[in-house]
Amino acid sequence: FPAKAPEANKETDAKFAEEYLKKYYNLQTNGRQSRKKGDGPLITKIKEMQQFLGLKVTGILDSDTMEVMHQPRCGFVDAGE
Protein backbone atom coordinates (compact mmCIF):
# COMPACT_ATOMS: atom_id res chain seq x y z
CA PHE A 1 0.00 0.00 0.00
CA PRO A 2 1.21 3.54 -0.69
CA ALA A 3 3.19 5.06 2.14
CA LYS A 4 2.61 8.69 1.19
CA ALA A 5 -0.90 8.71 -0.19
CA PRO A 6 -2.22 11.24 2.36
CA GLU A 7 0.22 13.87 1.06
CA ALA A 8 -1.27 13.66 -2.43
CA ASN A 9 -4.79 13.93 -0.98
CA LYS A 10 -3.80 17.01 0.99
CA GLU A 11 -2.60 18.71 -2.16
CA THR A 12 -5.80 17.81 -3.98
CA ASP A 13 -7.90 19.00 -1.05
CA ALA A 14 -6.02 22.30 -0.86
CA LYS A 15 -6.48 22.93 -4.57
CA PHE A 16 -10.16 22.05 -4.38
CA ALA A 17 -10.61 24.25 -1.31
CA GLU A 18 -8.92 27.21 -2.97
CA GLU A 19 -11.22 26.96 -5.98
CA TYR A 20 -14.25 26.52 -3.75
CA LEU A 21 -13.35 29.53 -1.64
CA LYS A 22 -12.72 31.67 -4.71
CA LYS A 23 -16.09 30.68 -6.10
CA TYR A 24 -18.28 30.94 -3.02
CA TYR A 25 -16.37 33.06 -0.47
CA ASN A 26 -14.73 35.67 -2.64
CA LEU A 27 -11.20 34.47 -1.87
CA GLN A 28 -8.67 36.73 -3.53
CA THR A 29 -5.15 35.39 -3.71
CA ASN A 30 -2.17 35.87 -5.97
CA GLY A 31 -1.23 32.23 -5.48
CA ARG A 32 1.40 32.89 -2.82
CA GLN A 33 0.90 32.23 0.85
CA SER A 34 1.48 35.15 3.17
CA ARG A 35 4.68 34.97 5.22
CA LYS A 36 3.46 37.63 7.59
CA LYS A 37 2.54 36.78 11.13
CA GLY A 38 -1.00 35.46 11.42
CA ASP A 39 -3.27 33.61 9.06
CA GLY A 40 -2.94 33.99 5.30
CA PRO A 41 -5.98 34.72 3.13
CA LEU A 42 -6.67 31.03 2.49
CA ILE A 43 -6.77 30.06 6.17
CA THR A 44 -8.80 33.15 7.03
CA LYS A 45 -11.35 32.18 4.39
CA ILE A 46 -11.39 28.55 5.55
CA LYS A 47 -12.22 29.80 9.05
CA GLU A 48 -14.89 32.14 7.69
CA MET A 49 -16.43 29.30 5.71
CA GLN A 50 -16.31 26.90 8.68
CA GLN A 51 -18.03 29.48 10.86
CA PHE A 52 -20.70 30.11 8.22
CA LEU A 53 -21.36 26.42 7.63
CA GLY A 54 -21.66 25.71 11.36
CA LEU A 55 -18.45 23.64 11.51
CA LYS A 56 -15.72 23.64 14.13
CA VAL A 57 -13.52 26.65 13.28
CA THR A 58 -9.95 25.37 12.90
CA GLY A 59 -8.65 26.83 9.66
CA ILE A 60 -7.71 23.26 8.73
CA LEU A 61 -9.22 21.20 5.92
CA ASP A 62 -10.42 18.40 8.17
CA SER A 63 -12.73 15.62 7.03
CA ASP A 64 -15.92 17.36 8.20
CA THR A 65 -15.00 20.49 6.26
CA MET A 66 -14.12 18.57 3.12
CA GLU A 67 -17.35 16.58 3.35
CA VAL A 68 -19.50 19.71 3.42
CA MET A 69 -17.49 21.31 0.64
CA HIS A 70 -18.13 18.31 -1.59
CA GLN A 71 -21.88 18.45 -1.10
CA PRO A 72 -23.87 19.80 -4.06
CA ARG A 73 -25.01 23.33 -3.43
CA CYS A 74 -26.49 26.56 -4.63
CA GLY A 75 -24.16 28.63 -6.78
CA PHE A 76 -24.83 31.85 -4.95
CA VAL A 77 -21.80 33.20 -3.07
CA ASP A 78 -21.90 33.15 0.74
CA ALA A 79 -19.71 36.25 1.05
CA GLY A 80 -20.85 39.79 0.38
CA GLU A 81 -19.97 41.09 -3.04
Binding site: L53, R73, C74, F76, D78
Partner: protein, 168 residues
Protein backbone atom coordinates in the same frame (compact mmCIF):
# COMPACT_ATOMS: atom_id res chain seq x y z
CA UNK B 1 -31.07 33.97 8.09
CA UNK B 2 -29.68 36.92 6.21
CA UNK B 3 -30.92 39.25 3.51
CA UNK B 4 -29.20 41.13 0.71
CA UNK B 5 -27.61 44.27 2.19
CA UNK B 6 -29.48 47.35 1.05
CA UNK B 7 -32.16 45.31 -0.73
CA UNK B 8 -35.55 45.25 0.94
CA UNK B 9 -37.01 42.82 -1.55
CA UNK B 10 -39.75 43.52 -4.09
CA UNK B 11 -41.74 46.68 -3.53
CA UNK B 12 -44.85 44.99 -4.94
CA UNK B 13 -46.62 41.97 -3.54
CA UNK B 14 -48.10 40.54 -6.78
CA UNK B 15 -45.27 38.89 -8.67
CA UNK B 16 -45.24 37.04 -11.98
CA UNK B 17 -43.15 34.11 -13.14
CA UNK B 18 -42.50 32.45 -16.46
CA UNK B 19 -40.99 29.07 -17.29
CA UNK B 20 -38.77 29.81 -20.27
CA UNK B 21 -37.87 26.19 -21.06
CA UNK B 22 -38.07 22.70 -19.64
CA UNK B 23 -35.64 20.03 -18.56
CA UNK B 24 -35.98 16.77 -20.51
CA UNK B 25 -35.45 14.90 -17.23
CA UNK B 26 -39.05 15.27 -16.09
CA UNK B 27 -42.52 15.46 -17.66
CA UNK B 28 -43.54 19.09 -18.15
CA UNK B 29 -46.49 18.69 -15.83
CA UNK B 30 -44.13 17.64 -13.03
CA UNK B 31 -41.89 20.65 -13.64
CA UNK B 32 -44.95 22.95 -13.57
CA UNK B 33 -46.11 21.35 -10.34
CA UNK B 34 -42.67 21.55 -8.65
CA UNK B 35 -42.30 25.23 -9.56
CA UNK B 36 -45.82 26.12 -8.48
CA UNK B 37 -45.37 24.30 -5.21
CA UNK B 38 -41.99 25.95 -4.57
CA UNK B 39 -43.61 29.37 -4.86
CA UNK B 40 -46.38 28.27 -2.52
CA UNK B 41 -43.76 27.58 0.17
CA UNK B 42 -43.20 31.33 0.34
CA UNK B 43 -46.71 32.60 -0.41
CA UNK B 44 -48.10 30.46 2.44
CA UNK B 45 -46.28 32.58 5.01
CA UNK B 46 -46.26 36.05 3.39
CA UNK B 47 -48.74 38.32 1.57
CA UNK B 48 -46.96 37.57 -1.74
CA UNK B 49 -48.82 36.12 -4.70
CA UNK B 50 -47.25 34.45 -7.73
CA UNK B 51 -49.01 34.38 -11.09
CA UNK B 52 -47.70 32.43 -14.03
CA UNK B 53 -47.45 34.25 -17.36
CA UNK B 54 -46.56 32.80 -20.74
CA UNK B 55 -45.95 35.38 -23.45
CA UNK B 56 -44.61 38.42 -21.62
CA UNK B 57 -41.52 39.06 -19.56
CA UNK B 58 -42.12 38.24 -15.92
CA UNK B 59 -40.52 39.29 -12.64
CA UNK B 60 -39.03 35.83 -12.07
CA UNK B 61 -37.85 34.14 -15.27
CA UNK B 62 -37.08 30.44 -14.82
CA UNK B 63 -34.78 28.53 -17.14
CA UNK B 64 -32.66 25.41 -17.47
CA UNK B 65 -29.21 25.85 -18.98
CA UNK B 66 -25.78 24.24 -18.98
CA UNK B 67 -22.28 25.71 -18.73
CA UNK B 68 -22.09 29.32 -20.09
CA UNK B 69 -25.61 30.72 -20.30
CA UNK B 70 -25.64 34.50 -20.73
CA UNK B 71 -24.76 35.58 -17.22
CA UNK B 72 -21.40 35.82 -15.49
CA UNK B 73 -21.86 32.58 -13.59
CA UNK B 74 -21.40 29.57 -15.88
CA UNK B 75 -22.53 26.21 -14.57
CA UNK B 76 -19.99 23.49 -13.91
CA UNK B 77 -21.36 20.20 -15.20
CA UNK B 78 -22.92 17.47 -13.04
CA UNK B 79 -22.99 18.03 -9.27
CA UNK B 80 -21.11 21.00 -7.77
CA UNK B 81 -23.37 23.98 -8.39
CA UNK B 82 -26.98 22.97 -8.97
CA UNK B 83 -28.65 26.33 -9.56
CA UNK B 84 -28.51 30.02 -8.78
CA UNK B 85 -30.86 32.98 -8.62
CA UNK B 86 -30.61 36.75 -8.54
CA UNK B 87 -31.74 39.23 -5.92
CA UNK B 88 -34.91 41.27 -6.49
CA UNK B 89 -34.54 44.00 -9.11
CA UNK B 90 -35.60 44.67 -12.67
CA UNK B 91 -34.02 42.79 -15.59
CA UNK B 92 -32.18 39.67 -14.51
CA UNK B 93 -33.12 40.35 -10.90
CA UNK B 94 -35.25 37.59 -9.42
CA UNK B 95 -34.44 35.16 -12.24
CA UNK B 96 -33.62 31.55 -11.38
CA UNK B 97 -31.34 29.31 -13.45
CA UNK B 98 -31.09 25.54 -13.03
CA UNK B 99 -28.10 23.54 -14.26
CA UNK B 100 -29.31 21.27 -17.06
CA UNK B 101 -26.30 19.01 -16.54
CA UNK B 102 -27.91 17.80 -13.32
CA UNK B 103 -30.53 15.07 -13.23
CA UNK B 104 -33.77 16.68 -12.09
CA UNK B 105 -36.53 14.70 -10.52
CA UNK B 106 -39.72 14.95 -8.54
CA UNK B 107 -38.47 12.16 -6.27
CA UNK B 108 -35.14 11.35 -4.67
CA UNK B 109 -33.30 9.71 -7.57
CA UNK B 110 -31.45 12.83 -8.69
CA UNK B 111 -31.90 16.39 -7.45
CA UNK B 112 -35.43 17.19 -6.39
CA UNK B 113 -36.57 20.21 -8.41
CA UNK B 114 -39.10 21.35 -5.83
CA UNK B 115 -36.49 21.52 -3.05
CA UNK B 116 -33.91 23.33 -5.18
CA UNK B 117 -36.50 25.71 -6.66
CA UNK B 118 -37.88 26.61 -3.25
CA UNK B 119 -34.34 27.50 -2.15
CA UNK B 120 -33.64 29.54 -5.29
CA UNK B 121 -36.90 31.43 -5.02
CA UNK B 122 -35.78 32.43 -1.53
CA UNK B 123 -32.94 34.29 -3.27
CA UNK B 124 -35.37 35.64 -5.89
CA UNK B 125 -37.34 37.17 -3.02
CA UNK B 126 -34.35 38.66 -1.20
CA UNK B 127 -32.91 36.06 1.13
CA UNK B 128 -29.22 35.24 1.26
CA UNK B 129 -27.87 31.95 2.59
CA UNK B 130 -28.54 30.98 6.16
CA UNK B 131 -25.94 29.43 8.45
CA UNK B 132 -28.61 27.33 10.14
CA UNK B 133 -28.04 23.78 8.75
CA UNK B 134 -31.75 23.00 9.16
CA UNK B 135 -32.86 25.99 7.06
CA UNK B 136 -34.03 25.76 3.47
CA UNK B 137 -31.65 28.65 2.72
CA UNK B 138 -28.59 26.72 3.95
CA UNK B 139 -26.32 26.57 0.88
CA UNK B 140 -25.97 22.79 0.50
CA UNK B 141 -28.60 20.42 -0.92
CA UNK B 142 -30.46 18.17 1.47
CA UNK B 143 -33.29 15.96 0.26
CA UNK B 144 -36.59 16.13 2.09
CA UNK B 145 -39.64 14.18 1.02
CA UNK B 146 -41.73 16.95 -0.62
CA UNK B 147 -44.99 15.80 0.97
CA UNK B 148 -43.38 16.18 4.39
CA UNK B 149 -41.72 19.52 3.71
CA UNK B 150 -42.43 22.33 6.15
CA UNK B 151 -40.67 25.66 5.81
CA UNK B 152 -38.21 25.85 8.74
CA UNK B 153 -38.63 28.60 11.29
CA UNK B 154 -35.41 30.37 10.30
CA UNK B 155 -36.70 30.80 6.74
CA UNK B 156 -40.13 31.92 7.94
CA UNK B 157 -38.47 34.57 10.10
CA UNK B 158 -36.26 35.64 7.20
CA UNK B 159 -38.99 36.07 4.61
CA UNK B 160 -41.38 37.72 7.07
CA UNK B 161 -38.65 40.24 7.96
CA UNK B 162 -38.96 41.42 4.34
CA UNK B 163 -42.67 41.06 3.60
CA UNK B 164 -44.48 40.52 6.85
CA UNK B 165 -46.76 37.62 7.66
CA UNK B 166 -49.78 36.42 5.73
CA UNK B 167 -52.94 37.55 7.45
CA UNK B 168 -55.38 34.67 7.56
Amino acid sequence: FSTFPGNRGWSKRELTYRIINYTPDMPRSEVDHAIQRAFRVWSDVTPLTFTRVYDVTSDIEISFAAQVHNDFYPFDGPHGTLAHAFAPSSGIGGDAHFDEDETWTSGSNGYNLFIVAAHEFGHSLGLLHSNDPSALMYPTYHYTEPSEFRLPEDDVNGIQSLYGARIT
